[in-house]
Amino acid sequence: MGVVQASPAYHERDMNGSGGTGSNDAAPCGTEPRDVIIVGSGPAGLTAAIYTARANLAPLVIEGEPSSTSDQPGGQLMLTTDVENYPGFPDGVMGPDLMVNFRAQAERFGAEFVTAKATSVDFSERPFSVWVGDECYRSRTVIVSTGAQSLMLGLPDEERLIGHGVSTCATCDGFFFRGQEIAVVGGGDSALEEAMFLTRFASKVYVVHRRDQLRASKIMQDRALANDRIEFLWNRQVVEIRGDDKLEGVMLIDTQTQERSALDVTGLFIAIGHRPNTELFADWLDRKPNGYLMTDAGSARTNIEGVFACGDVQDDYYRQAVTAAGSGCQAAIDAERWLEAQGH
């Protein structure tokens, strides 16, 4: 749909551009086109950077900007501690250390980095345009690896109390709940990983889950169910967050009986899943109903020739660091071969 239209950003820049002619076919930005721009810098984006850099394509990685919201350079692994299932590390590896190494490996082969967020893209014509604020970059191919970020509950006061008892990062904040009673919301692997991690500090961890069974993998379930500091509150949803300067407790509702109950906890860790960071591409790339980008089966190709997608932004099923890295490699090879076929 978006293929033949210029994005709103294009028009805006066209009208405001200095000395612009107002003509729609004026070049949207003047830089020499590169071969590859990679948007996003988790395991997928950085693997694509390693591969395209080693193929002498001098990729530019628009890596994002520091934040504590699981949307930052290095991706979601920056908010984890021990990663036990990434092959090659028999004793496990710290998530942030792993990502620092990914980046160093890409840099070693000549990848360049912009530490900022891409703010708009124009895929209406090749070379494509990617903006970071007022800075514009052009490229013959774009690899989209913007990942996914944590969902929030969407309750009043939730945002206000982040950093004051409400958290989306157990590894950042768990330390401060030593000897206290806290709750984790969610029923997947990340919820149970957070709950297990938090038992290092908290005297008790409630896992609040809206169903009566878990989505988490068997090994995580077994570990969590065997942990006597963890208590499961099944069929419960958080409906209210209480506290002035800091969290004082939450209200739960039983999804079966609708009965309300108070839970006095000083910490609330939210791990209810993720949403893909695809808003930037909404005008251009086909998405599934749940917002994830569509790619051709068995490849990283999107509906626009020369634009590839990899990692969690297009994966609503596996969502592992190693599958993200694998798909980043696919995107790099797809981009490389596509450039070759174009005679570059």
Partner: protein, 107 residues
Amino acid sequence: MAEGISTLDDSTFDETVGSADNPVLVDFWAEWCGPCKMIAPILEEIASEHDNIRIAKVNVDESPDLAMRYQVMSIPTLIMFQDGEPAKRLVGAKPKSALLAEIGEFL
């Protein structure tokens, strides 16, 4: 030439922060905190670019009492101290431009 980033602990904090002529931006951090690592190089840059504030780090593993005293519940937390008293608090990692905007009044 700015003096770089110093490390404070329970025994040096009060004297250093209390006696400083300039505002002191204290970064509460830990080795295991990914977002803390993200902002560390930004703080190095700010320290070398601005002579009129001081930047110091407190490792919350080594100085848990300081973290508790200033009610740090999430890291990174940056607290700007003026005349020894907390004057501004920033929670969570932020890009350099956002950090500079937040502490602009002290620069």
